[in-house]
Subunit: 298 residues, 2 copies
């Protein structure tokens, strides 16, 4: 089985050219020769994997496609600015919808989300074919004067926070991400954000990206991890604990971030503090914890 990381891994070495401050390997690329530094991110969603056209409305798919990109900009504490949108539309959408109606409704979802975050859609490419719906968005953002927040900046004894409750997004929340753009920008002014990432693969899997890039470990506190009501509902279906879903489910699109102990005090009562950066390894209440779905990047 091919790993989806391979292609990116292979591209990574080719992003080291002048002007590229951060190439592949973080939430966004950071480009140098700009007023501030600019951020670029891309996400492609496919029918049957990221959404079911028979279940999700086209508007929701459009919103999700823009939302996951906004979440990547949020994860750098950047300001989203410009997007290009490329789609492959099925000639015969399910449920008797016309291709035109599908395009219009998808478009409406993309635009609604873009408008909410002040994003200008500056380009696009529309294609029709005989297969499933694909939507690919590239989002360009600006980093603030404080610079982009990378995955690699966590420090020993940092406090680990998360922006909201986790788990069970599969019940429907995964289709309506609330990208934490404003939260990230506000945090970036109040505290010195050491490392940050958005949760797409799951709390443990995405925290591991911070730990790998920062060369540290983490201990999580099970009692502090905010559990979404959907995690409880999922739990009733799967037989796993709600905590299990909060730890391992993906597509929450909340942010994980780390700050110094001093800065952590400023955030008390505002965001749940879920753990501490340690020397090595990932633990839960001091016991070894295996991140689900984690592929170790060599």
């Amino acid at each position: 089985m091919p790993s989806e990381f391979d292609f990116i891994q292979s591209l990574r070495q080719h992003s080291q050219l002048p002007g590229v401050v951060v190439g592949i390997g973080d939430d966004c690329a950071v480009l140098e020769p700009l007023a501030q530094r600019w951020l670029v991110t891309t996400d492609l969603l496919t029918e049957g994997v990221d959404f079911l056209l028979a279940e999700a409305t086209p508007e929701a798919i459009g919103k999700k496609a823009m939302g996951v990109n906004l979440s990547d900009i949020a994860a750098m504490a950047g300001v989203p600015k410009f997007a290009v949108v490329a789609v492959a539309l099925p000639r015969h959408p399910p449920g008797g919808m016309t291709t035109r109606a599908l395009a219009d409704r998808l478009d409406a979802g993309v635009r609604e989300m873009a408008a909410r975050f002040g994003v200008a859609i500056v380009g696009g490419d529309t294609n029709t074919w005989d297969q499933g719906l694909v939507i690919s968005i590239t989002l360009i953002g600006e980093s603030t004067a404080r610079g982009p927040v990378l995955r690699s900046g966590a420090k020993l004894d940092d406090a680990i926070f998360v922006t909201g409750p986790l788990g069970g997004s599969l019940l429907g929340r995964h289709l309506s991400p609330e990208p934490r753009v404003r939260e990230a920008l506000a945090l970036h002014q109040i505290v010195d954000l050491h490392a940050m990432i958005d949760i797409s693969d799951g709390l443990t899997a995405d925290l591991m990206h911070i730990l790998e890039e920062s060369h540290f470990g983490a201990d999580l506190d099970s009692m502090s991890i905010p559990i979404h009501p959907d995690a409880v509902l999922r739990s009733a279906i799967t037989g796993q604990t709600p905590l299990h879903h909060a730890l391992h489910d993906g597509e929450d699109f909340e942010l994980i971030f780390t700050v110094s102990q001093a800065d952590a005090e400023k955030l008390t009562g505002q965001f749940p503090r879920i753990g501490t950066i340690t020397d090595t390894g990932l633990t839960l209440d001091g016991q070894p914890l295996t991140p689900r779905g984690w592929v170790h990047e060599v």
Copy 2:
């Protein structure tokens, strides 16, 4: 039947935000708040429409995907700089190829083309699904100090040039575009380029974009239109004249550009001069000419 222009048309009005000098409607978007102005373009290719995986090598598909984007940057006389690459890979490619091998070979084609033009690949998204291959590339380029060359700048009595022979690309040339990036930059230094576009839909269809945006007409000289040997070969198959194929076939990826009569003299013998900008209408040797596949944009 939905027109592929509708989606873009609908997005166009949403690209008018501060910082967007040119949004949707030209070959690239032009973004303001940069050292020079920056150019952004996106193209998505689908199996069965833009290529047949059973016929084209994955390397060629990768090269084409990067090439069509490079051609858009060339059409603005820009310098290509950064790209992001998103793919949807079939879980079971035709011909017994593994998904991994397909990804690697596609990647090799993308990288080869990027390297040839000094492009840094700064991001990507790899997905696997049960349907056909899709590759979507967004390319960011820098405009030179002379500024980007738009479609809207043609002037009455301008000479119309093309950078190379046309027609019959379907025989295979459409898979190995030679983006005219260097030619465009050289021309941009020698003459004052009034309007420029790359030929993706066909000479007449793409020239019409210049005419519509510039609010002029054109008269083409049938004897001066450079005919590619492939147009002659196609002619033998289709029964159409070679000139017909040169006028109407798509995916040549040569550039059409217009310059003043004075500048035209500097280019004599270097590029074929194929016509003149007139007050209105499109004619060939003075006779009305209908652009093939042309959809009038209201």
